[in-house]
């Protein structure tokens, strides 16, 4: 017992396993918080409205539910729950295509839980860092030869060290699952674990029969197996290489290179630690994409059948067994010799300082009068801002036209300006989008990058700066990292103040400029929308002129009577009954 205690102590303290584990847990939590985004952003943004409809139709497809949704959709998406209806109707169309195993479900939580966008690098790194020193440490300090001559030095030495390292790998893998479960449950909720896996859109094409809970259990088991395989391979490599550098190099290469280098289908047909540690590939159905050249459909991923999954698992188990046998051979046989001691050196801390761009305080805009009806042109100090052939231009008092001095490179890099613009005081705001595709053969998102920027031009100096930007990049090192921030700027009318962007109309939202966080905003644009620098005025769905105070966030009616339209002028609001 004391020997085992000593081994644990060696792993956690001497080899700094405790530090590695703590860093790993912190990295996992950070990864969840920083890289997670909802699979269905609209369902998350308009959650309340969406759940209102979902309550009625939750569960399997029935004729009554279908009739209800068709009726609601036919009645028109006008009302307080309009956005929710759009979301549920999209889901209805999805469910309709596979009525027997696609259920109505708030699937964002399960989608986030079951999806893996990339190899879990903190997990792989932690397993390697915990496993490499187990035998390399003994070899480097020369204790190995001494231990092997002692009574407990052979079988027990091997047994305890190997078992401990494998247990550590298992614990790391399971804690990943627990962290992800807790995170998804807290952020989205994980309802109805007994619904079929196909209810989540990412797995809609799968032919396997699994419940959501079953899919998660299978994924956790496969990830555990992959972690054990990586740990066993690392142990084996470290026992034979005896050098830290070589063992770490070879095990990292074994973990990372197949993932970056091999095609998806090859990866999931081989018992590789990297593929088992990304188990979503074993659950997904076949996927097809359009060929950009011929327009035909090509399979980009073929479903891994249950039998193949079993074969891969068996292969991984065999690899683990082979590694253990090799370890036994290594320590049952000759006594190795390398000698040498290490000097303790103080750890050097590298502080990485990120330089943050200085923030310039924007002067408060005074006397704002904005009417969405007039947003095609804006006058300021004798200048008129409008757009000509898709490019914003300025007309001076004599009618001379000058292009707004935005990025002059648009003709070659293909950046496009999206109308309409928004103006407030001396600032004019423009949306610009830029996309680039480096992939050629498929018409899907691989190799695509999409950048949406909000530019602000100061009409006094014509200085231009980017106020807000979202970048959606799909591929890094040839690996599909999937999505990113959804486009938050939209294409309809919008209003900008110092803190927020208000995107109006259907799918409206309020986006915080500093964080990019979006909250739903319901302002219909079928009539005029006005902004006076503090409040947004609009005609709500029942025809009442309403005021939304952007500072207090409260909405109230300006008057009780219904209006057909209105305008904001310098002297006040002019309504048209």
């Amino acid at each position: 017992m004391t020997l085992l205690h000593f081994e644990i102590r060696k792993m956690l303290r001497t080899n700094r396993g405790a530090v590695v584990a703590a860093l790993f847990l912190a990295a996992e939590v950070l990864l969840c918080v920083l890289t997670d985004f909802p699979a269905n952003p609209d369902a998350a943004l308009y959650r309340e409205q969406y759940l209102h409809y979902l309550e009625r139709v939750d569960g399997a497809w029935t004729r009554e539910k279908a009739d209800f949704l068709e009726c609601e959709a036919a009645r028109g998406a006008d009302g307080p729950y309009a956005e929710g209806l759009d979301v549920i109707y999209e889901q209805y169309r999805y469910v309709n295509e596979g009525r027997e195993n696609r259920f109505f479900l708030d699937s964002n939580g399960w989608a986030s839980l079951l999806r893996d966008r990339a190899l879990d690098l903190p997990l792989a790194a932690a397993i390697i860092l915990l496993s490499v020193p187990v035998y390399c440490g003994e070899a480097a300090s020369g204790m190995e030869s001494l231990a092997l001559t002692s009574r407990n030095g052979r079988r027990l030495f091997l047994l305890q060290k190997t078992a401990l390292a494998l247990a550590a790998a298992a614990a790391l893998s399971l804690s990943t699952d627990l962290i992800r479960l807790a995170f998804c449950a807290a952020k989205y909720d994980l309802p109805h674990p007994d619904y079929p896996m196909q209810s989540v859109e990412a797995f809609g094409g799968a032919e396997k029969t699994l419940t959501l809970a079953g899919a998660e259990a299978l994924a956790a088991a496969l990830r555990l197996l992959g972690s054990l395989e990586l740990a066993a391979a690392t142990l084996c490599l470290s026992a034979y290489c005896r050098r830290f550098a070589l063992a770490a190099f070879l095990s990292s290469a074994a973990a990372v290179l197949p993932w970056i280098g091999l095609g998806q289908e090859t990866q999931y047909s081989l018992p590789l630690p990297s593929s088992l540690m990304m188990p979503a590939g074993f659950l997904r159905g076949s996927e097809y994409a359009a060929d950009a050249a011929t327009g035909g459909t090509v399979a980009v991923f073929r479903e891994v059948t249950a039998a193949q999954t079993a074969a891969v698992s068996l292969g991984a188990a065999l690899v683990i067994a082979a590694c253990l046998l090799l370890l036994r051979r290594r320590y049952g046989g000759f006594l190795g010799g390398g000698r040498g001691t290490f000097k303790k050196t103080a750890a050097l801390c590298l502080a990485l300082c990120l330089l943050l761009g200085g923030c310039e305080d924007a002067a408060p805009a005074e006397d704002v009068i904005y009417n969405s009806r007039d947003s095609a042109a804006y006058e300021y100090g004798g200048l008129t801002v409008t757009s000509e052939n898709g490019r914003p231009v300025v007309l001076d008092g004599d009618g001379n036209v000058t292009a707004l001095p935005l990025d002059p490179l648009a003709p070659v890099d293909g950046a496009v300006y999206i109308e309409p613009f928004f103006a407030r005081g001396r600032y004019v705001y423009f949306r610009r989008e830029f996309s680039e595709s480096v992939g050629w053969s498929l018409a899907d998102d691989s190799g695509k990058t999409y950048v949406a920027s909000l530019l602000r031009v100061d009409l006094d100096t014509f200085r231009t700066e980017v106020v807000f930007e979202t970048v959606t990049q799909h591929t890094v090192f040839g690996i599909d990292i999937g999505g990113g921030t959804p486009d938050l700027l939209g294409r309809s009318d919008f209003i900008v103040d110092d803190e927020y962007i208000y995107v109006l109309g259907a799918g409206g939202r309020r986006v915080e400029i500093s964080t990019g966080r979006a909250t739903p905003l319901d302002i219909p644009t079928n009539r005029n929308v006005a902004y006076d620098g503090r409040s947004i005025f609009y005609v709500d769905r029942s025809g009442v002129l309403t005021r939304f105070d952007t500072e207090s966030g409260e909405t109230r009616a300006v008057s009780d009577e219904t209006v057909s339209d209105f305008r904001l002028t310098e002297s006040g609001i002019v309504t048209e009954p």
């Binding site: 050249a293 000097k343 292009a403 070659v412 890099d413 053969s441």
Partner: protein, 401 residues
């Protein structure tokens, strides 16, 4: 000099390093083949490849109105009959190139019409950029915005006179420019070799012994730094050469060697104007510089390690953080973040491929110029720190002993 040669042999010219290099070179070539097969239809479709070879001779070389007219004479009727999907889908139609109307149209569109259109239009687009930039320059000069005026003047200078005069096959270069796998391979080898620079001496207690010799202390560290410099420059350059030869073997690169770099679609907004081959050389050298800077940081970490594991993990973590930052800011308008990140110097397509400036005391400096200077500074700082910290520690130890 003898110390340098000794360190080079001890640290880098070793069997495991050479075996790793050989294995990774084979992996690299296999991946290049897979990428080309995946992306180029001339690799997978034999009929297309044959027709392309036959037709290429008719259109390659200087673009004349005659060639464009000949091409459009074939293409326009095809476009007409395929647009309303009434053309026959038989695959043995007489008088077609590939035997099928749709296939003909797709081949011509993808490999002849659209690249030729892009090449032909480039001159006009560049002229438009120059016109807009000059307009902006005049406006800003009138308003007294010095930096903005200078920046637009620089844009006008860079884009004036740009034109693509010849039609050449550029698909190979496109794939070469967007191919990043070899950077990961080079990184792994560098991590492996560099993380033991100091750890190996410490393992066999040579570090203490060396302090007692005239060549020990800072002069041996200097020799290590020099050996590491040679190695960190050689490995990325080796892989860049392998990439070029690999893509040259599976797709024809030599055809487009002399074409200006902005002829390639993803490089249309490039801030440099050299030939494609010249640009690839510059890009490879810049990548080597980025690896050198990272390598010096790895060495600095290696000095702190009790054994080679911590430097390996630390180096990998530094690279991952740089990668994450590079992905986050690679396409962003915050040009400064690109200039300070070694990842952007290693994967430098976006650095050269976009015309972006950084305001350095009122002077517009192109991002790639700033990034090269920053990388050199980072590498030199890390090397100086390694020398300074290592030397000082050893002297103190020597006194105590």
């Amino acid at each position: 000099m003898r110390l340098f040669r000794f360190e080079l042999r001890k640290l880098f010219l070793r069997a495991p390093v050479f075996i790793a290099l050989a294995v990774f070179t084979v992996l690299d070539l296999a991946k290049i083949r897979a990428v080309a097969d995946d992306a180029s239809l001339l690799r997978t479709d034999e009929v297309w490849a044959r027709v392309y070879r036959e037709q290429y001779g008719n259109y390659s070389g200087e673009m004349t109105l005659e060639k464009i007219d000949t091409l459009l004479d074939i293409y326009k009727p095809l476009e007409w009959i395929t647009n309303d999907i009434t053309a026959t889908t038989r695959s043995d139609v007489e008088g077609t190139l590939t035997g099928n109307y749709y296939s003909d149209r797709n081949l011509l569109e993808r490999y002849f019409v659209s690249p030729m259109r892009r090449f032909y239009n480039y001159r006009g687009n560049a002229e438009e950029v120059v016109r807009l930039a000059r307009e902006n320059e005049a406006l800003y000069a009138r308003l007294g915005c010095g930096y903005e005026a200078r920046m637009n003047a620089a844009v006008a200078r860079i884009y004036s006179g740009r034109a693509v005069a010849e039609f050449r096959y550029t698909e190979g270069y496109r794939l070469l420019f967007t191919y990043d796998f070899s950077a990961v391979l080079a990184l792994l080898i560098l991590l492996y070799a560099l993380c033991q620079t100091f750890a190996r001496d410490r393992e066999c207690r040579m570090d203490e012994l060396m302090l007692a010799t005239p060549g020990g202390g800072s002069s041996s560290i200097l020799a290590k730094l020099r050996a590491a410099t040679v190695f960190t420059l050689a490995v990325p350059l080796w892989f860049s050469t392998v990439d070029y030869l690999g893509f040259g073997l599976v797709l024809d690169l030599s055809e487009a060697n002399g074409l200006p770099v902005y002829a390639e679609g993803t490089m249309a907004a490039a801030s440099v104007g050299m030939s494609l081959l010249g640009f690839y050389t510059v890009s490879a050298l810049t990548r080597a510089l980025g690896f050198w800077a990272l390598g010096m940081v790895f060495l600095l970490i290696s000095e702190a390690g009790r054994h080679a594991l911590l430097p390996f993990a630390g180096g990998a973590a530094v690279f991952l953080i740089c990668t994450a930052a590079g992905v986050r800011w690679g396409y962003s308008s915050e040009a400064l973040f690109k200039a300070v990140n070694p990842y952007c110097v290693i994967i430098n397509r976006l650095l050269f491929g976009r015309t972006e400036f950084i305001n350095v005391l009122g002077a517009p400096v192109l991002t790639w110029q700033a990034a090269i200077v920053m990388s050199a500074l980072l590498g030199l700082t890390a090397a100086a720190l390694a020398l300074f910290l290592g030397g000082k520690n050893n002297i103190r130890k020597g006194v105590l002993a």
